[in-house]
């Protein structure tokens, strides 16, 4: 964290290399967050991610370290960018309809088939949740962020984050169980 604070300070002084390091550290997490929030549309996820980092770089002078990781600030910018995205455009592809190749990057190529299917499945049900539930589940379980950091990013209390997390998991479990039940019935009928 101390190291990150120094990098932020250097970036605030206008040192591109320092911001470059911060970019390298957080690009994947922010991209993942955006990608899952925009229903897996790769092009939109890239555009929004670009906007997030451009905005962060342009406004780095305004950032004040308050004891929280730099990523909290980036997540906050990303959330606002996603809200703007949904406000200004009408996405017409549901996440579960997104082609499978969107998920496969160089890193995941050759990844076991069952894992890819699992990713598809969980991704599909994630989009059925309320936006704030998605935020908490992605940050908590995909990115391993602390409740404190999530609370800062979402501008909520830690207690509220815990409650949201509990409800989100419950809702996701319900969707998965309903699907399993439907699959079981279909198999029996067949």
């Amino acid at each position: 964290m101390e190291d990150e604070q120094k990098l932020v300070q250097k970036a605030k002084e206008g040192k591109e290399e320092a911001f470059g390091v911060l970019y390298d550290r957080h690009i994947s997490a922010i991209y993942r967050f955006v990608f899952l929030k925009v229903g897996g549309r790769k092009g939109d996820a890239e555009d929004i991610t670009h906007e997030v980092f451009l905005s962060a770089w342009k406004n780095i002078g305004r950032y004040e370290f308050q004891g929280f990781p730099f990523s909290s600030w980036l997540y906050r910018i990303a959330r606002n960018a996603i809200i703007d995205y949904y406000r200004t455009s009408k996405p017409n592809i549901a996440l579960h309809e997104a082609p499978e190749y969107l998920l496969v990057s160089e890193k995941t190529e050759g990844y076991e088939l069952d894992t890819t299917l699992e990713v598809e499945r969980i991704k599909k049900y994630l989009t059925l949740l309320e936006p704030v539930y998605q935020d908490v589940l992605i940050m908590k379980f995909v990115e391993d962020r602390s409740n404190k950091e999530i609370a800062v990013a979402l501008e909520k209390s830690e207690g509220a984050v815990r409650v949201i997390q509990h409800r989100a998991l419950k809702q996701l479990k319900k969707h998965l169980e309903e699907t399993n039940e439907e699959s079981r019935k279909t198999t029996q009928d067949a």
């Binding site: 206008g14 591109e16 690009i27 670009h50 998920l103 990057s105 160089e106 995941t108 990844y111 998991l169």
Partner: protein, 152 residues
Amino acid sequence: MKNLAKQLKTLSVIEPDVEFVAATRRGILVVPGKRRSMWGVAPLWATAFAMLIVSIITATSLTRPSPALSAVENPELLSQEFNNLTINVELEAITYRQTVDQTIASALNEISSNTMRHLNKELLQSEEERFDVLIEAGNNSEIDTLLNKVIF
């Protein structure tokens, strides 16, 4: 729930394209960040500089007395100012007295002189007689009638 958490964790395999990451990095860092304000000074330093200027101005105005007070502090200047004031007052008094003296002398001269038209005894007497005639003439009934018309 643990199983759910594990399932969610599988989403961490999602990664952006390497080309996208590199292109965005290049594109963003070309743009200058808004970390500096006026005169290329960081906002914190600009604020500190502004506060220093204000402090200097305030301190200067508090330590430097006004021109009026500076005269009090300098006895010579004060004495000189006072002397000039006395001279000015005296000159004004002299001018006033000269004017008054001339007026009084002129009035006395007029009173003592019989040649003046408005102080001539004969003239005053004839005026007095004329006034009596006018009073008598005031008994004229025509005048009374005309006055009554005007008033009522």
